[in-house]
Amino acid sequence: MTFWKYKELLKELVLRDLKVKYRRSVLGYIWSILNPLLMMLVIALFFSYMFRFQIENYPVYLICGQVIYNFFSDATRQSMHSILHGGALIKKVKLPKYIFPMARSISSFINMLFSLVAVVLVMIITRAPLSLTILLFPLPLIYLFFISMGVGMILSVLVVYFRDIEHLYGIFLLALMYASPIFYPISALPPTAAFIIKFNPLYHIMIMFRDVMYFGTLPSLRDNVVCLAFTLLSMGLGLIFFKKYQDNLVLNI
């Protein structure tokens, strides 16, 4: 199995990403915690005065949604550039190319784990009830990891052939942000929107994540099935697409 042979490389690439991310910044990894906190504060201040949604403990609701969206956005965007960025290597050495989007997804995941500290901090500060279901937090995150990796693999190949994707994807991410229940309650949606939003995998991941972190309930079987279906779909498409085009990548970088 070639993957096993390259696990060391995967490790090195992930370490590289993590080392480079905050190199030369004074606070370093504290930024991974500080960033979601500050962003949550800005949005919370803004929306508490503008809309006054009927949401109990809005900061926790908000930061839970934000962590999910930010991870998806970061992981897919990082993966998208991974092949282009690794071009120098791909042109000089034989490598399994999937290792690049994979490494970026993993390093992004590790960053996201840091931001969970911010979630816990907000929960403690706002005296949110801490329930044992919190221990289930890896479940939605693992679904999300594989969904992001599948999307990232497709993007990483597409962007080599069409550089426009880079710019288009920024717009897509913005649309996705508004189509995800990050700062509004699901009940605020009109019926049509409430139906359409179900096709957004982040919607289901956010529900599950909030179930365990915010509501203190177990994720339902149905949500698990839906998330698993999205995971399989994303990884399946990602792998098929990647396999089909990977051999010609080197000629187009």
């Binding site: 490389l9 490790k11 080392k19 791909i90 550089r163």
Partner: protein, 244 residues
């Protein structure tokens, strides 16, 4: 019977020329509409077959643009041949361009581990060789300096040291010794002679007939993607020199 280190069977490589490369959506649609997606095709290597025996030092000679590097990249597994197939037995250390694949923001030491992993070696394995790598590259004063502050000669030294210290079965060398000063060049040649003595198979592309004659025992001449002749290094070099 000796097993071959590399077998090349009827290998061809086709490129679509860069001026026809479509890399934006707009262009793609325009061309689609114009039914103009037919590309200029170009064969860099045409139906080439040969074998390299274990322990041989094999040179590939030819003019610029004759397909030498394409052939090397196919043997190294970087390009997949358009048709035909290649069998490679043993681990390959490609030195297609020294210092490629260094991460500019990482220090020299961190890059040694990254580059080692690229060649398939674990952190603990590289740690064993770390001292000899830096010794050879003579970079002890710069171990913790980011690579972006290195001169091209320093990068080349480090790249050469990593690729040759870890003892591959097959070493692929593409005109890399043109960088670096005379002292380093001499050191590299000595290192390559040592590897040859240990039985490492070497595949070399060079424009310097002197170097080819000095280091290789077999050679192949390739012109515009066609194999012109193959065999003993002196014979091939003589014919190549006579023709050009």
């Amino acid at each position: 019977m000796a097993e071959y280190a590399v077998e090349v069977h009827n290998v061809s490589m086709r490129f679509n020329l860069a001026r026809e490369k479509v890399d934006s959506l707009k262009e793609y649609f325009i061309r689609n509409v114009k039914k103009n997606l037919a590309r200029d095709e170009f064969y860099a290597v045409k139906d080439v077959s040969f074998n390299i025996e274990k322990g041989d030092s094999f040179a590939i000679v030819g003019l610029n643009g004759s397909g030498k590097s394409t052939l090397l990249k196919m043997i190294a597994g970087i390009y997949k041949p358009t048709s035909g197939h290649i069998v490679v037995r043993g681990s390959v250390a490609p030195m297609i361009e020294l210092g490629a694949g260094f991460d500019q923001d990482l220090t020299a030491a961190e890059n040694v581990f990254l580059n080692g992993a690229v060649l398939g070696y674990s952190r603990s394995y590289i740690r064993e060789y770390f001292k000899s790598i830096i010794d050879f590259a003579e970079l002890w004063d710069f171990v913790d300096v980011p690579i972006k502050n290195f001169s091209s000669g320093m990068k080349a030294r480090l790249g050469f040291a990593i690729a040759t210290t870890v003892e591959p079965d097959i070493l692929i060398v593409d005109e890399i010794l043109s960088v670096g000063d005379a002292k380093f060049k001499q050191k590299c040649e000595q290192r390559m002679a040592e590897m040859k003595a240990k039985g490492v198979t070497m595949i070399l592309v060079s424009h310097s007939m002197d170097q080819v004659l000095k280091t290789c025992n077999k050679a192949m001449w390739i012109n515009k993607g066609n194999m012109m002749c193959i065999g003993d290094v002196k014979e091939v070099c003589a014919r190549y020199s006579a023709q050009t």
